[in-house]
């Protein structure tokens, strides 16, 4: 199949590369192959790690040879291209965010930098679904795509040493939020009470690569109420199905 490269990553790693760009169509093929492989549960495949434009497959070469695995992967990848575009359903997960105030110390700067009001920044930030291209950096950290250039803002020159869990930020034309407390240089515009990573929960990760997230503005009172539900294990995130085409354009 055109454009698919199979590369080695150690004796137990095989990389399937669909391209070299950050692109929703390429990324959707990564996730389709990842799901197909997980469903097939082939003997010898230990773990699959989808990223922006490639998939790392950990395998046991004493159970399945690199050659046999490559052949199988190329066969499956060729099958994907036939029916991928337009037919894929994704999950859209609503992430409630309390914008501004002490939770969003940089909201004012983001607004000024882009010659917008704070309300406009919030409106733009919360108006579209963002594709979770991949997770990385820390457990549950989403690399999101699709933020409007109208609110793009450069990173802090000096990163903060401690950013509270749940902080929602902007870095250049990227947006995302910190699932656990960590250092970071993103401009913080709000905070979500939702836990993207909770090792004690039977559902430790709120979303997976290939899902879409949409931020929903909430008040401080709602933030506190949801926080209590989260702490009590009662919070239920809003999740709906929606269709997208492989060009990345969203149809709800």
């Amino acid at each position: 199949m055109d454009g698919v490269r199979i590369l080695p990553a150690g004796e137990q790693g095989l990389v399937v590369e669909f391209g070299s760009a950050i692109d929703p169509a390429i990324n959707s093929r990564v996730h389709l192959l990842s799901k197909t492989l997980t469903q097939k549960n082939l003997a010898g495949i230990l773990e699959v790690v989808p990223t922006y434009r490639s998939l790392l497959i950990y395998f046991d070469p004493l159970v399945i040879s690199r050659r046999a695995l490559s052949d199988e992967v190329l066969r499956l990848a060729a099958g994907l291209s036939a029916d991928a575009p337009g037919k894929t359903k994704a999950r859209l997960i609503s992430i409630p965010v309390c914008y501004g105030g002490e939770f969003g110390p940089d909201l004012k700067f983001v607004a000024q930098y882009n010659h917008l009001s704070e309300e406009e920044v919030i409106q733009i930030h919360s108006s579209v679904p963002y594709l979770v291209y991949m997770l990385g950096f820390t457990p549950g950290f989403p690399y999101l795509g699709g933020m409007s250039e109208r609110i793009a803002t450069p990173r802090l020159e000096k990163p903060r040493t401690k950013i509270p869990a749940g902080s929602v930020g902007i870095a250049g034309s990227q947006t995302g939020f910190y699932p656990i407390e960590s250092p970071g240089g993103w401009r913080l515009i709000g905070r979500t009470p939702v836990k993207a990573f909770d090792p004690a929960s039977p559902q430790p990760f709120l979303f997976a690569a290939g899902d879409y997230l949409q931020f929903t503005p909430i008040t401080l009172a709602e933030y506190e109420s949801i926080s209590r539900d989260v702490a009590a294990g009662k919070y239920m995130p809003q999740i709906r199905d929606f269709n997208f085409n492989a060009g990345g354009e969203v149809k709800q």
């Binding site: 990553a9 790392l56 549950g140 009662k234």
Partner: protein, 361 residues
């Protein structure tokens, strides 16, 4: 119960690692030197994957509240039981109230303590390994502190008695005094981002382990490795042993606590069986890289697994069948993938959630 009197420099609970969740950004962690860790478990008759303690450079002091069969493998830290020397790569009976103490690592860097039954901290996402940066696993997600008490579990597979490992299975650790450590490398995935000169530099030079070497990665100092183009790529997954080369041209070898993804070119990968040697290397030690073929790397893996079988056989021929194979969590991992999927369907507080997931997966 095991009481921690002194924790040592960096002592953590580790097992085979938290496989199955890298897609969610969760690093694998696990024992840095899988060989010493696994042999210690074999010496006390534990199941593969039972949790032990990993000590770094300087060991701790522990008191056994109940009698225990204990094994020590890895770097020689001059272990003493109630003041009497005990050999590394051996198992011994620790009476109730006995104190096991360690000093500095003479050769090597990391020492593993296995206790018959394993260290019984809670399983987090299928593993007891400590991932300190994320505060996950082990004892409260952190390194041991004085006063910590560790429960002992029941993860045993075979009968065991105090004995010494046959010397032919004991590795000699390299280091400054013993010359450079040779690491075999499989090229890729981004070897095409380097010039022929860059590749020649990697395989023709001696590199020194910098002080910046920890469970996450080993930064090396030496000649600059030349890129053919940009040193940055669109982030992709990082496997264990991956040799990242950022713009400065110095290699970084990714170890147990590596982040799951990275944006630097990876010239090659140190093969799994050789990572155990690197895990025992200290800052200041020298390493050289040797190019190897996929066939050679797979053969080295096969040989490593054979050695576990031979060790099980030498320790207790009657029980060797309890250790069918030390494959890297092959059956357990498939099971964990299953759990990863099932987790979504047994969601307790989100019915809509799991219905959708069943459709998806």
């Amino acid at each position: 119960m095991i009481a921690t009197l002194q924790p040592g420099l960096l002592t953590t609970v580790q097992d085979e690692g938290r496989w199955g969740y890298q897609a969610y950004g969760m690093p694998v962690a696990g024992a840095m030197d899988r060989y010493a860790y696994r042999v210690a478990n074999l010496l006390v008759g534990n199941k593969p994957g039972a949790a032990g303690l990993e000590m770094t450079l300087r060991g701790g002091t522990f008191r056994f509240e109940a009698e225990a069969l204990v094994a020590i493998c890895g770097a020689d830290m001059g272990a003493e039981l109630n003041g009497q020397p005990v050999a590394a790569w051996s198992s011994f009976q620790a009476p109730p109230g006995s104190v096991l103490s360690f000093g500095f690592a003479a050769a090597g860097c990391r020492t593993y303590i296995a206790v018959r039954g394993g260290i019984d901290v809670p399983l987090v996402l299928g593993s007891r390994s400590t991932y300190i940066r994320g505060g996950v696993g082990g004892l409260n997600g952190r390194a041991l502190k004085a006063g910590d008490v560790l429960p002992v579990g029941g993860e045993t597979a075979a009968p065991a008695r105090p004995q010494r490992l046959d010397p032919r299975f004991i590795p000699q650790y390299g280091g400054a005094a013993n010359g450079a450590i040779e690491l075999r490398v499989l090229l890729g995935p981004q070897d095409d981002c380097f010039t022929a000169q860059g590749l020649a530099t990697l395989f023709g030079s001696t590199y020194t382990i910098s002080p910046d070497a920890d469970r996450m990665g080993y930064r090396l100092d030496g000649p600059v490795i030349e890129h053919s183009g940009k040193p940055d790529i669109v982030s992709d997954a990082l496997c264990q042993g991956a040799i990242q080369v950022p713009g400065h041209g110095m290699p970084i070898i990714m170890m147990a606590d590596r982040q799951t993804t990275g944006g630097y070119t990876k010239i090659g990968t140190v093969i799994g069986p050789d990572l155990t040697k690197l895990a025992q290397a200290k800052p200041g030690d020298n390493v050289v890289f040797k190019k190897c073929s996929d066939e050679e790397a797979v053969e080295a893996l096969r040989r490593e697994r054979q050695i576990y079988a031979e060790i099980a056989q030498s320790l207790n021929p009657a029980a060797a069948k309890e250790y069918p194979e030390y494959s890297p969590a092959a059956p357990p991992l498939a099971a964990r993938l299953e759990i990863a999927r099932r987790v979504f369907t047994v969601k307790v507080n989100g019915e809509i959630f799991h219905v959708e997931i069943e459709e998806e997966r």
